[in-house]
Symmetry: C2
Subunit: 244 residues, 2 copies
């Protein structure tokens, strides 16, 4: 893990860009740190860190101001990372099915999602290794994202993650439903009730499938990017309850 730049935001938050091998990432921490910090991994939406930066950074500054470290890495195939031909094919198939009003088959959903999950999860684990080796970061660790299938797999397999905020809002392969039953950490799931890109019933079924004893679903009105500010703040309080 190599830091490539740093800047102060608002005087009280330090933003550092880094690379982890070929993967770019950003770490936000309070400008002054007296004890090792709890960490929140903030998984971006699959549109690239550069495009997602304004919303990610606004959230991360708020998170750092509350005494957390927050870190994100670029997803495979996003930003400047190499695209996979198979993924682009699956995305074209999805668009064609949606435009034709045809059902989105399991094959399309699997091709769109599973290779991304398979590649991402070890990358987040490597990022976690590197971040937890920094003296200013001590854990516990939360995960907030992004592509919900990545969050499900990571919550199921990575014991260092203690709590997760997940955004219902993308197609979920059947196999991920099975993995959801293995998840036992506290979950806070956000659902945009009228999300034009989301299958509401699938999101409710996935929430039902999680094995966690403490799981909360917060559904709000508005489209895919319309999560109200108060809903973001409730996610922050969820992490404060579980990571502090």
């Amino acid at each position: 893990m190599q830091f490539t730049s740093e800047q102060r935001l608002d005087d009280d938050v330090l933003e550092r860009e880094f690379t982890l091998g070929e993967i770019p990432g950003i770490l936000w921490t309070p400008a002054s740190v007296s004890a090792p910090l709890p960490l929140i991994l903030v998984s971006p939406p699959p549109l690239g860190l550069r495009k997602a930066y304004p919303r990610l950074a606004a959230r991360a500054r708020h998170t750092a101001a509350q005494g957390f470290a927050a870190a994100t890495i670029e997803l495979p195939g996003s930003g400047d990372r190499p695209r996979s031909a198979a993924f682009e094919q699956a995305r074209a198939d999805l668009r064609r099915a949606l435009a034709a009003g045809e059902p989105v088959t399991d094959e399309i959903v699997d091709a769109l999602t599973l290779p991304l999950v398979d590649q991402s999860v070890p990358e987040w684990q490597a990022a976690l290794d590197a971040l937890l080796s920094l003296p200013e970061i001590g854990g516990p660790v939360g995960y907030s994202g992004g592509v919900i299938s990545i969050g499900v797999r990571l919550a199921a397999v990575e014991p260092r993650i203690s709590a997760a905020v997940l955004f219902a809002g993308s197609f979920v392969p059947r196999t991920i439903f099975e993995e959801a039953r293995q998840v036992t950490i506290p979950l806070h799931v956000l659902l945009q009730w009228d999300d034009e890109d989301n299958d509401r019933q699938m999101a409710l079924d996935l929430f039902d499938a999680f094995g966690s004893k403490e799981k909360t679903l917060h559904a709000n009105m508005g489209g895919h990017t319309g999560v109200p500010q108060f809903a973001g703040e409730e996610g922050g309080r969820f992490f404060a309850r579980h990571l502090k």
Copy 2:
């Protein structure tokens, strides 16, 4: 409206019992009031004020400590108020259907709910008249309850109510679904996901039916009475956003 007793709770909350005609009620206010207070009508569950008192009073003390007045009245047929033979018959029919594993018919749900709604809503409106005539109460007014069909009707017909926290957890007549479409105030709906007495899909359908532009559903694990403390606090913040 006649006050029949008063006591201080924790030094900083004043609890006053009152009667409104034949209907008993309780009003909680901060012990010292400098400006007219916003008001939250707290509708009890249909088990009588005396049995509901510990949970109602704990919530109301918290509410009063945040600068609200909170008031409740006994529902028709609850506590010492006269029971209706038709309601008792409907309740017996419901129990028989549930015990036999038979479907709960629209007739049973209507008989169980609609007379209660028809009688309750004007009573809450009369209570509102009386409470708003007190110098220490000025509004705006929120409603928090209880039997969700009463809340739906009241939110649809009473323009002095500005925001409502509703508890999904009882059978809802079809006609109430139609009234839900007329509701336009901000809503915060609590659903116990594994509530043994509740039809989850009916609760989700009712949430979907509300006409409000701002509506939030918070689903948590646990049974009918297992609403977690943090969920109650989120309801308090919802009222603080809309009534202050």
